[in-house]
């Protein structure tokens, strides 16, 4: 029985879904790839937080031009493909700004990683801005009124009263954005960033096993995102339970 399975596995075509013959030799591409992918996702969302908050506050401003600028940015980002944004940032912005090819952690080349992270963060900030806006709007309007009627200026009222309450709505959505970024960042492979998808491509090219690496990559993406998504759901439900005025 076991021998039969072993024989079947040995005889698999290089283009079979179940052919993992590239393992364990090429495992390191996947391990480093996962690290690179997580680094891309987490760093880009973290970088997106401050600009996103700024965009959200601009969007809710009374001043029409300020509102327009923020709205235009969000619309442009949301209406163009990430790949296009990535190419423009990589070949455009980071043609004028040169990042030296310094390697951190032994495999993350900053001259690739930084343009990638900046492009992803610029993309993410548009989506996170909407998360912030929704989170702030979900806070009862009476909170702002109460704070203002005590004489607190708008900025202080936002910072001390509204935002701390909005965080509760925002955090789960922000964690979901990281999960989204784990998947979306795979596009960076096209420009040579050595993420999980790049690891799969490289293992496929070098080993002539052309499909198994992608199946493995899919399994790894799932193994990261599915539990993460579930955990976020649980936290979200728990936070909502304490949600009363």
């Amino acid at each position: 029985m076991f021998d039969a399975i072993a024989a079947w596995y040995e005889g698999l075509s290089p283009a079979s879904f179940f052919n993992f013959h590239f393992l364990p030799k090429y495992a390191v591409y996947f391990i480093q790839g996962v690290e690179y992918t997580l680094l891309l996702a987490v760093v880009s969302v973290l970088l997106a937080v401050l600009p996103a908050l700024l965009l959200a506050l601009m969007r809710m401003s009374k001043n029409r031009p300020i509102r327009w600028v923020s709205g235009a940015y969000v619309s442009v980002i949301r209406s163009t493909p990430l790949l296009v944004q990535l190419s423009i940032i990589f070949f455009g912005v980071f043609n004028a700004i040169r990042i030296p090819a310094i390697k951190v952690f032994g495999f993350v080349d900053l001259s690739y990683f930084i343009p990638g992270v900046v492009a992803l963060a610029m993309n993410s900030s548009a989506y996170v801005a909407e998360i912030f806006r929704a989170g702030i709007l979900a806070v009862d309007g009476g909170q702002m009124e109460a704070a203002r009627s005590l004489g607190l200026p708008k900025g202080k009222a936002m910072q001390l009263v509204v935002l701390p309450q909005a965080i509760k709505n925002i955090l789960p959505a922000l964690a979901n954005e990281v999960v989204t970024m784990v998947k979306e960042s795979s596009i960076c492979m096209v420009l040579g960033m050595q993420d999980l998808m790049w690891g799969a491509k490289t293992a496929a090219a070098s080993s002539f096993v052309t499909l198994g690496p992608y199946v493995l990559a899919a399994l790894i993406y799932f193994a990261i995102n599915f539990p993460a998504g579930k955990a976020i759901e649980v936290i979200e439900r728990r936070m909502r339970r304490g949600d009363q005025r």
């Binding site: 075509s13 290089p14 283009a15 013959h21 590239f22 030799k25 090429y26 390191v28 591409y29 480093q32 190419s87 070949f91 455009g92 043609n95 004028a96 700004i97 040169r98 990042i99 030296p100 090819a101 495999f107 930084i114 096209v190 420009l191 040579g192 491509k201 490289t202 496929a204 090219a205 070098s206 080993s207 002539f208 096993v209 052309t210 499909l211």
Partner: protein, 296 residues
């Protein structure tokens, strides 16, 4: 399709070289802060062609194409090897420069070089009029097998002549002369080409093979050496015999348009030397052996 892509690439590089120029205009200050540093290394050198021989050469390639350039793990350490890499090393050595590799999608290589992010490109890239317009090619360094068609072994007997591919889905790598063989329409680069084939153009060779195995396309046109490798490694696949797809492949080393750094003479010298003493052949054999050992 290919021309459109090239045009876009050129337009992009043109726009970007402008921004590069402005960036360089700031003067060659020490690049302490990356955000305001003018172009470093390669570009800084290209801005001063009169300067002495470069101490560092950046070599662009697309390392998913064994045996020309591919990743291997040498004692767990990721390395880019292949015959093009060996050639690049020889070129750098002859110039007394240190070699650095930039690994990038094939489509983007010339754009990258136009931006000064690499000094030369070697990626089994043959001369075409479009490429000559965007960059300068060296003398050919190798006589590759002519392009070949890979099909499923089970369907091998359906394909006897080039006309048998009419109405079939035929795959090739985007932006290569193999793509022109499938699409036709460029008599100069691909005088022998298919007529009425339905082109499936992808960036990645592995993805093309997947399409073939899973019957999304009926045949794939590859460089001869690559075709033979895939047919060897996958018992389901075979190379079509007796279909002539034109001349041998003649890959060159590419430098930026107009050779601003004046690298070409030295590169051609190295190529001539390596061809004469048989080193190129050795490079290919070594690369082949490394690639065959890819699974062990």
């Amino acid at each position: 399709m290919k021309n459109w892509k090239k045009l876009m690439g050129l337009a992009l590089s043109a726009a970007l070289s402008l921004s590069l120029l402005t960036a360089c205009g700031g003067g060659a200050a020490e690049s302490a802060a990356p955000s305001e540093a003018p172009a470093e290394s390669a570009a800084a050198e290209s801005a001063a062609p009169e300067s002495a021989a470069p101490t560092k050469l950046v070599f662009g390639t697309s390392a998913d194409y064994p045996p020309y350039e591919f990743h291997i793990l040498d004692n767990g350490e990721d390395k880019i090897v292949g015959m093009d890499v060996a050639l690049a090393q020889a070129i750098a050595e002859d110039m007394g420069a240190e070699l650095e590799i930039v690994d990038m999608n094939f489509d983007n290589l010339l754009t990258l070089m136009a931006q000064g992010k690499c000094d030369f490109v070697i990626a089994d890239m043959e001369s075409t009029p479009d490429r000559e317009a965007a960059a300068d090619g060296s003398d050919p360094y190798y006589e590759d097998l002519a392009p070949m068609v890979v099909v499923k072994k089970a369907n091998l007997d359906q394909y006897k002549t080039i006309d048998d591919f009419t109405g079939k889905n035929v795959g090739a790598q985007t932006g290569t002369n193999k793509a022109l063989i499938v699409t036709g329409g460029d008599e100069e680069t691909a005088p022998i080409h298919m007529t009425g084939a339905n082109p499936i153009l992808l960036t990645n060779v592995g993805d093309l093979i997947n399409q073939l195995v899973y019957d999304k396309c009926d045949a794939v046109v590859l460089d001869g050496a690559v075709a033979v490798k895939y047919a060897e490694s996958n018992p389901e696949l075979a190379v079509v015999e007796g279909v002539e797809l034109g001349k041998v492949g003649l890959p060159c080393v590419w430098v930026a348009d107009g050779d601003p750094q004046g690298l070409l003479p030295a590169i051609n010298e190295t190529i001539a030397k390596l061809k004469a003493d048989g080193s190129i052949k050795t490079f290919m054999e070594e690369a082949d052996a490394l690639s065959s050992g890819a699974m062990s």
